[in-house]
């Protein structure tokens, strides 16, 4: 077994994801099978291989060189706030974060 129920509980906690008991077990079994399959990567010797962290070569994007750090006003608050579940212009309101 690659992944335990406790692992799934821990990971769901890290991802702030509420999972039911049934979901926990279903995902554990399915992810276990996927990780088993993914294990085939260990057949490959990757010592000395640079991880591919970039897709484009450096000369293919304009931002390969540093751009000027200039402030550009975007003025979109008025358009964005109505999308929020609980707006209090110009703020987003959230439940209590700190207990007193």
């Amino acid at each position: 077994m690659k992944i335990s129920r406790e692992d799934v509980v821990r990971v769901a906690e890290l991802a702030y994801l509420d999972l039911s008991e049934t979901e926990l077990e279903t995902y554990r079994a399915q992810i276990d099978e996927i990780l088993e399959y993914v294990g085939k990567l260990n057949e490959l010797d990757t010592a000395g291989v640079e991880p591919m962290a970039q897709v484009l070569a450096d000369d293919q994007t304009a931002d390969a060189t540093l751009r000027e750090d200039t402030v550009v006003p975007c003025g979109i608050a008025v358009a964005i706030l109505p999308q929020a579940p609980d707006p209090d212009p110009p703020f987003f309101r959230v439940p209590k974060v700190i207990e007193r």
């Binding site: 992944i3 799934v8 099978e33 085939k40 991880p51 897709v55 579940p85 959230v94 439940p95 974060v97």
Partner: protein, 479 residues
């Protein structure tokens, strides 16, 4: 009125005043009204916007002005691409009422080129899936045989073009999500090179893989649309500064003498025998066109699915952290902030998305990062090297797009790994960043379309478009 319109046909009909852009738009909405209840391919329509644009085009014609490249062409947009003022759900409950305050650059560019945006197409939730059965708004049906899936994740975008409910559409491809539904619905579908098309306004799934690209009824239409949306965008730092060739003007350049790599590694077990037969016939057709098939090896092909599902889920777990019930979308009210996050995300995401968030968080977590994520990034480099090595010897690579034709709805929903394996031939090019097109290559079992996939080197879209065009013109769809 003909069912299948091409971009050229639309522009000719409008220029000859056989009908107005407004009438054409109305005709498409009439078709959608009549047919979409059965297909479930559209999630939202934007008639106000469409008619306003149609009137603009009709104004140009009345003034005797030339039509822009996509003047009056009705186009549908996958629902993971932002459209100002039109609800954009990503096929997810968590964004059920989300109305973007801005347009994706690809959408802006289509409209600037004269296109009429009809509406938004159904897709797998956050583009995660290969059958369109992961949409919170129900599956899309394949217009060819209705009991089959259209492929995914851009199933709606493929279905509307195939069914004549749009002339063309935009989809997104992360591991095969444009090419595979194109193959399963029997239409050309293309993913340009990584960086070719701006992703500004594309709601992110896996940022090192996501690409926007077109579906059309013809290869030329696909070329015209790619040309309209491609090119540098200051709002997307990953969009390339490389110049955009005139894909559609160059589409009929000769392909004789092109060397086509046939990777033996793509023709192993798991491929449907009917698909194999059609693809082999397709390769024969390429030979008749004067191309030279060359046996090549791409030794890391077999590791692509494993690599992809590490990298894609890792990036997804990070990208999807933004859905927290604070700024947009669903919120489940709870007395504390953390409980609100957990409940909102638990209630808003569907099963496949949750599975991928858990897997992606796991492969990035302390103690597992090196074994999974870093290992995946290294194997990704080897897969990219397979492509670079191959393109030293050949001009293009031909493979099947999908190992199997369209499968029955519900057939694979209980087995995520089997579903993932549907992407076995497409994920390689996604990981390598190269462009790929799927083009119809006959049918099996009477009506199920097969696709031939053509890969080119990075920013080598022109040649594979020319090859796909010659292949299509030689009658490949009825092989």
């Amino acid at each position: 009125m003909s069912t299948t319109w091409t971009i050229d046909a639309v522009k000719e009909a409008l220029a000859a005043k056989k009908l107005t852009a407004r009438e054409l738009t109305a005709e498409f909405y009439k078709r959608i009204d009549a047919r979409d209840a059965e297909l479930n391919a559209y999630l939202a329509l934007s008639p106000e916007r469409a008619y306003a644009q149609a009137d603009k085009i009709d104004g140009l014609i009345a003034d005797g002005k030339a039509l822009p490249p996509l003047g009056g062409v009705p186009i549908a947009i996958k629902d993971v691409i932002s459209t100002r003022g039109t609800v954009t759900t990503c096929g997810s409950k968590i964004l059920r009422n989300y109305i973007p305050p801005y347009d994706a650059t690809a959408v802006t560019r289509l409209e600037e080129a004269g296109a009429i945006i009809l509406g938004k197409t159904n897709c797998d939730e956050f583009a995660m899936g290969s059958s369109n059965e992961n949409s919170a708004y129900g599956p899309v049906k394949n217009p060819v045989p209705l009991d089959r899936v259209p492929g995914g994740s851009s199933g709606g975008s493929a279905a509307v073009v195939r069914a004549g409910l749009a002339v063309a559409s935009l989809g997104t491809d992360t591991g095969g999500s444009i090419r595979q539904p194109g193959a399963l619905c029997g239409i050309p579908a293309m993913m340009g090179s990584y960086g070719r098309v701006s992703r500004y306004g594309l709601i992110a799934f896996a940022s090192s893989l996501d690409r926007i690209g077109p579906f059309g009824n013809t290869v030329k239409d696909v070329a015209t649309i790619l040309q309209a949306i491609a090119g540098r965008d200051p709002n997307d730092s990953t969009s390339t500064t490389a110049a955009v060739p005139r894909y559609s003007e160059e589409i009929d350049k000769p392909v004789k003498g092109m060397r086509i790599g046939i990777p033996r590694d793509y023709f192993g077990e798991g491929m449907d025998s009917g698909v194999r037969d059609k693809v082999e016939k397709g390769i024969e057709l390429l030979k008749k066109l004067g191309c030279e098939p060359v046996d090549i090896r791409m030794p890391h092909t077999d590791y692509a699915i494993a690599t992809y599902y590490i990298i894609a889920t890792a990036e997804a777990s990070s990208n999807l952290a933004r859905y927290d019930g604070v700024r947009y979308g669903l919120r489940i009210d709870e007395p504390t902030l953390l409980a609100m996050y957990r409940k909102t995300r638990g209630a808003g995401f569907g099963p496949e998305v949750k599975r991928r968030i858990v897997l992606g968080t796991y492969v990035l977590s302390a103690g597992y990062y090196d074994a999974y994520y870093l290992k995946g990034q290294k194997v990704r480099a080897l897969i990219a090297r397979d492509f670079r090595d191959a393109f030293q010897k050949v001009d293009a690579i031909a493979t099947p797009t999908s190992p199997i034709p369209a499968f029955k709805l519900g057939e694979k929903t209980n087995d995520p790994l089997q579903m993932y394996l549907a992407d076995i031939y497409t994920v390689t090019g996604s990981l390598a960043g190269v462009p790929g097109i799927s083009v119809p290559c006959g049918k099996v079992c009477g009506s199920l379309p097969v696709g031939l996939q053509l890969f080119g080197p990075a920013f080598g879209e022109s040649r594979i478009l020319q090859l796909a065009y010659a292949f299509e013109q030689a009658g490949a769809a009825s092989l």
